[in-house]
């Protein structure tokens, strides 16, 4: 049995029960969401031992006990389990922080959050191509709705732009799935792999192009990245943390599953080109941003470029970097949401003059995240970036130069953001709350503001800082785990045999 599959029914039950609880007792709504995400995280941790003890290190399950290509298969290998653990972990932390961030405990917010996490988890579990599409749609609809959560001008505009682009992309994915079914006659991933291997056909490049275009738009690779800064500016910031970390990781997982396991194609040139352009454009545009959320969004886009370059050369460094980026983006966005609990203002020049009085943990968390993003030693970003530099230096030295240049730019804008948010003139950092010099419009009324300390903020930030430091200091552990995962991805026959013979 697969314990982590329990996460999907638990999250769906929570999503269906939260609006009911919202009518009767609003106090239960965040508690229900936090319980559901906690149960799903524990379930995903409990799957590690059964997975490593099983033969071929793959767990499968047939929904409804129908035979293999005729029903829907749930198939987890090591890469899927890493993604599932990341999704449930960031979901748990975002749910804990949302308890403090969202005033008045709106039940629709928590319900859509649980649906978003259920959709992402379902995408990572499945072994069937149309099932992947359906859960991608669950994720997308929840994302469109959560972008328009505040119903202000900029939220509605960001949401409609994201909706039109995202609906077009998922329709392209459906077109790819339709052509795949027309070609092979089955929808099971392992069965398609066998059929594609036996009958090469000129339609296959078109199918791969369609599927990759749709998924590339969902994970914000450069020609198709325009929705991401608008969405991350307009959505509530804990949800932005899930978009930047778990959602991107799952869409990259889907790309790798389709390319490596189903079609067995390694698109080296395309990934190198797309990755380099994404890295450079993301970093260059991030330098010009005044809004902290747009800066973090462009930073996330540029880090996805690193992952694409790494997949083109060596899969180990790519998987390690994917893990680290998920943790770092979650840390950055959650620390910014803890900072901006009392205000809606996100421009850095305005924020540097306001007296936000953050708790001492928040600047530390943001600094750890920003330095890790830039690749400073002793933090986890450095471990994976060092691997990427070493592996690309052997084969493509120009790409290494571009990567190092992007790291320098990342350091520059990260330190600028840290300085403007936490070390500027108007801040009462280290001083008491009454020492702000002039009372400006938009200053926070300290009598009615919430304090930004408490377990709802300390637990997520401290956990993420500990993980960043652990994988920075003990980098060999991370490298070994990524190597195991990369080996299981390199040969798709293991996956095919494990699914079709059970």
């Amino acid at each position: 049995m697969i314990p982590s599959f329990l996460a999907i029914p638990v999250l769906l039950c929570a999503a269906f029960l939260i609006p009911l609880a919202g009518i009767h007792k609003k106090k239960w709504v965040p508690i229900l969401a936090i319980t559901a995400t906690l149960v799903s995280f524990i379930a995903s941790l409990m799957t590690i031992t059964p997975l490593l003890n099983s033969t071929d290190k793959i767990l499968t399950h047939q929904m409804g006990s129908w035979q293999v290509p005729y029903g829907i298969t749930i198939a987890i290998d090591q890469f899927s389990l890493m993604i599932i653990t990341l999704i449930t972990f960031t979901g748990l932390l975002a749910a804990i922080l949302s308890k403090k961030y969202i005033k008045h405990s709106k039940p629709e917010y928590y319900s859509l959050l649980c649906l978003l996490l259920a959709g992402l988890t379902g995408m990572a579990h499945t072994g069937d191509l149309f099932n992947l599409f359906v859960f991608l749609e669950i994720t997308s609809i929840s994302s469109y709705a959560l972008t328009a959560f505040y119903t202000e001008k900029k939220s509605c505009e960001a949401s409609i732009k994201y909706l039109i682009m995202g609906a077009f992309a998922t329709s392209l994915i459906l077109l790819g799935i339709a052509l795949t079914y027309g070609l092979t006659g089955t929808l099971n991933m392992a069965d398609i792999a066998i059929a594609v291997n036996n009958n090469p056909s000129p339609t296959i490049p078109i199918i791969i192009g369609l599927l990759l275009t749709g998924l590339a738009l969902k994970s914000a690779i450069v020609p198709l990245h325009a929705w991401k800064p608008d969405v991350l500016e307009a959505t509530p910031i804990p949800i932005g943390a899930i978009f930047a970390s778990a959602s991107t990781a799952t869409c990259l997982y889907a790309i790798i599953r389709i390319l490596y396991t189903i079609f067995d194609i390694h698109l080296t040139t395309l990934m190198l080109a797309a990755g380099t352009i994404t890295m450079l454009i993301g970093a260059i545009l991030a330098m010009q941003q005044d809004n902290i959320l747009r800066l973090l969004a462009y930073s996330a886009i540029s880090q996805v470029g690193y992952i694409m370059i790494a997949f083109a050369t060596d899969t180990t460094s790519a998987i390690f970097h994917l893990f680290n980026i998920t943790i770092i983006e979650a840390l950055l966005f959650l620390s910014v949401s803890a900072l901006l609990i009392n205000t809606k203002e996100t421009g850095m020049t305005k924020l540097s003059t306001m007296n936000l009085n953050p708790a001492k943990i928040i600047p530390t968390a943001f600094l750890v995240g920003a330095l890790s993003n830039a690749g400073i030693p002793l933090l986890n970003g450095f471990s994976s970036k060092w691997l990427i530099y070493i592996t690309t230096l052997e084969t493509y030295p120009l790409i290494t130069i571009a990567a190092v240049l992007t790291s320098a730019l990342t350091l520059a804008y990260s330190l600028k953001a840290y300085h403007m948010l936490f070390r500027s003139a108007g801040h009462g950092m280290g001083k008491g709350p009454g020492t702000a010099t002039t009372k400006q419009q938009g200053d926070i009324n300290h009598n009615t503001a919430q304090k930004n300390t408490g377990p709802a903020i300390l637990i997520p930030l401290i956990t993420l800082i500990i993980i960043c430091l652990y994988f920075g200091i003990f980098a060999e552990q991370g490298e070994l785990i990524s190597q195991q995962i990369a080996e299981s991805l390199s040969n798709n026959n293991i996956y095919i045999q494990a699914v079709l013979n059970k």
Partner: protein, 100 residues
């Protein structure tokens, strides 16, 4: 007429026509045979499409209903703004009666 969309469309249409030309040749009818032969015995439904939607691939139907539920919650979230409307008309009414 806008040139860039039309040009892109011509390329798209050509590629798609090229893609669908090869379809009927390599299609494998195994899965279809299984569904048609076993729909009545194993699921008790004479309609094969019904057997697929509610029995063989019922997990997809669960996902589809979840999408519908998410859309309902989303519409309720975005369109439910009655209290704001009432406050504005009340303020307008007060300002009109005061200005008279």
């Amino acid at each position: 007429m806008k040139l860039v969309p039309i040009f892109g469309l011509i390329i798209f249409t050509t590629l798609m026509l090229y893609a669908v030309s090869d379809l009927p040749i390599t299609h494998n009818p195994d899965v279809k045979q299984y569904y048609l032969q076993n729909a009545l015995e194993k699921t008790g439904s004479a309609n094969a499409v019904n057997a697929i939607v509610w029995d063989f691939r019922a997990y997809d139907t669960l996902g589809e209903e979840t999408v519908l539920f998410a859309a309902v919650i989303a519409v309720f979230l975005i369109a439910h703004k009655k209290s704001e409307f009432k406050l504005k008309t009340l303020k307008k009414h007060i300002s009109k009666t005061q200005s008279k």
